[in-house]
Symmetry: C2
Subunit: 341 residues, 2 copies
DNA sequence: TGCCCATTCCAAAGCGCTTTGGCAAGCTGT
DNA sequence: ACAGCTTGCCAAAGCGCTTTGGAATGGGCA
């Protein structure tokens, strides 16, 4: 059933049917009611492509997900972020298009998406330091928002970010206040902006506490469970092992926990673990009482809010850029405790 | 830059430009080369919507993801599955549209996607027993494939599934052969078809070994880490606790591991854990040597293959249905061992 | 009654592409 | 030299919608 058929069936012009369905005022309420009833009855939904052609926009949002460095890793936060964003899009009548792409080809994909008129806006994920995608997107003139920030960017852009620096500053302070002096940092890949900021927060707190920043207990990498395990194992076998671990993801933290277990060390007693927690739906940390002491911020909520920011931006592309910075919430869990002497 | 402009710029009709770009033979190779060069130079990509309107298909695949029962949980396999599917789509020139929807509204979404002409095909996720979405999709006449199977379905459909029954049969046999007689099953939600089959495999192996199937050590639910932990804790506190756990997901298995840890039990020595392993990229189980004894099957590979099946089906919708059944691979890990006496 | 203005509707153009049906050359074979 | 191809190109229709610019209809008012 298309517009023409529906209008013929109603004995009304296509114009009127279209207007009735789109809420234009030039239609009597009686006619509108008739039209809507008939549309429902026949399960009519306007053809997306025709509608898009006529209006010039697609009512579709693009998410371009780059492969990790290894070309294999899928960011575990992906699902929850999308779930949040998806809710917003559904509420605003947008579709969501996901494109995965090898790192380095993003700019090309952006350009093509724009040229094809496939999307009305884009969400940029996992910004790196001085990210080269930013100028490309700006130049394209396609509305976009960024999940995270890119230090060193020269053009303004809208973003939603967690205050990673303060989160790691606070987590480090928590550990130092418990007496820990040798605190390992298992960070994400430090070409990613959030990891840089986390490191800065950590380093600043260490220095404020008069503690040395020791590169031998600081690592970066893709945040898998095994990454947490391997690095923790290595460090636990050092002559002077860390007494606390500050970890960038709850998935890694699980790996660290496994390492402690292997070494017969109890988290929160022998060794402390603090972690960032994205509130992943399948790895909740607050069910009864939190397993991990953590800095929490829901990535699902971030998805929903960022999507909303993008929708607003599409509706008014000339509006000033929006910057949203969320503070992660400190949650005391069972994985940290005073240092043993 | 659109077709009209490009053709004007080349001094050639739109017809010829279109044909040159789409590989039709009615164009001299000299002209084709000129056209392609100009298209690249100006970064011309045909407008997706216009192309779709004219051809009648969207070159877009829909994935409709239902919320879990709780309305919160995002399936952790989602990201890896999408990554695999995305590769296939990219290679075949398809876009990927993701729609999240509350459980129960799927049929409506399917209908609407079809009516709007938004997608050329659909992937159905997480089929339930005698799933009501199946007849809806069949009736719609939109090409679709299923990730998993639906027992009791009366109409034929194409699917890719893991042989969950044999996987759990084999895993259970492994445990019984180690002398375990009291084996807990931490299953996924048993309205989902795969969970039913897993249970059947488990029950069959138990019966074959002459062991009782005891509902008090069998649970079902959303496969979170905490689900694994809570249920393992409960069971470990039983008067006659299980000596082995068979778990439906590596995420849950991590939770079980944590429970053992809490009770000062060593996996593979005091208590065994075997699990299904989807080869999630952020939770690899085979890095050096497998942590968990597992039945492995890559969900990313499943995504890629299933997507390919769908593309084929779209190209020839009348072809007989394809059934792909993968056997999970047994991997001996450190989490199982002979029963202690 | 006649005029004007809302109200309500419509015909047709246009969005950017593909595709049908044809036409003009340039070849072939006789 | 000419019919009959093939080759290479084009004009125009059409995909299903929105939107512009009118055009009827009917009520209010002088």
């Amino acid at each position: 059933m298309n517009l023409k058929e529906l209008s013929k069936h109603l004995g009304i012009s296509q114009t009127t049917v279209s207007r009735a369905l789109n809420g234009y005022p030039e239609v009597s309420e009686a006619t509108r009611a008739r039209v809507i009833a008939a549309a429902n009855e026949h399960g009519y939904s306007p053809n997306t492509r025709a509608q898009g052609l006529a209006t010039g926009h697609s009512r579709c949002i693009g998410h371009v997900i780059s492969e990790g460095d290894s070309g294999e890793m899928v960011n575990p936060i992906f699902g929850d972020f999308m779930a949040g964003a998806g809710e917003t899009y559904a509420a605003h009548g947008y579709d969501m298009m996901v494109t995965r792409v090898g790192q380095g080809d993003e700019a090309d994909i952006y350009r093509r998406l724009k040229a094809r008129g496939a999307v009305d806006g884009l969400v940029m994920h996992a910004p790196r330091f001085d990210d080269s995608r930013l100028p490309v997107l700006t130049e394209l003139g396609l509305p976009f928002v960024v999940h995270g920030r890119s230090s060193g960017a020269s053009t303004p852009y809208s973003y939603l970010d967690v205050n990673n620096r303060s989160a790691f500053h606070e987590a480090t302070q928590h550990l130092t206040s418990l007496g820990h002096r040798r605190i390992a940092l298992l960070n994400g890949q430090e070409q990613l902006d959030f990891a840089i900021r986390r490191r800065q927060g950590y380093e600043q707190a260490m220095e404020e506490a008069g503690l040395p920043v020791d590169p031998t207990v600081m690592t970066q990498g893709e945040m898998t469970e095994d990454y947490g395990y391997q690095n923790a194992m290595t460090m636990l076998d050092m002559p002077e092992p860390p007494t606390a671990f500050l970890v960038s993801s709850i998935i890694c933290a699980a790996g660290v926990r496994r390492a402690l277990d292997d070494r017969n060390l109890r988290p929160g007693e022998d060794v402390s673990i603090a972690t960032f927690d994205d509130c992943l739906s399948y790895f909740r940390n607050s069910a009864a009482q939190p397993v991990f002491t953590a800095m929490q911020s829901s990535v699902r909520a971030a998805g929903a809010t960022l999507a909303r920011m993008l929708v607003d931006r599409i509706n008014d592309p000339t509006a000033p850029h929006t910057h949203t910075l969320w503070e992660a919430e400190f949650v005391a869990g069972a994985s940290t405790g005073p240092i043993k002497d």
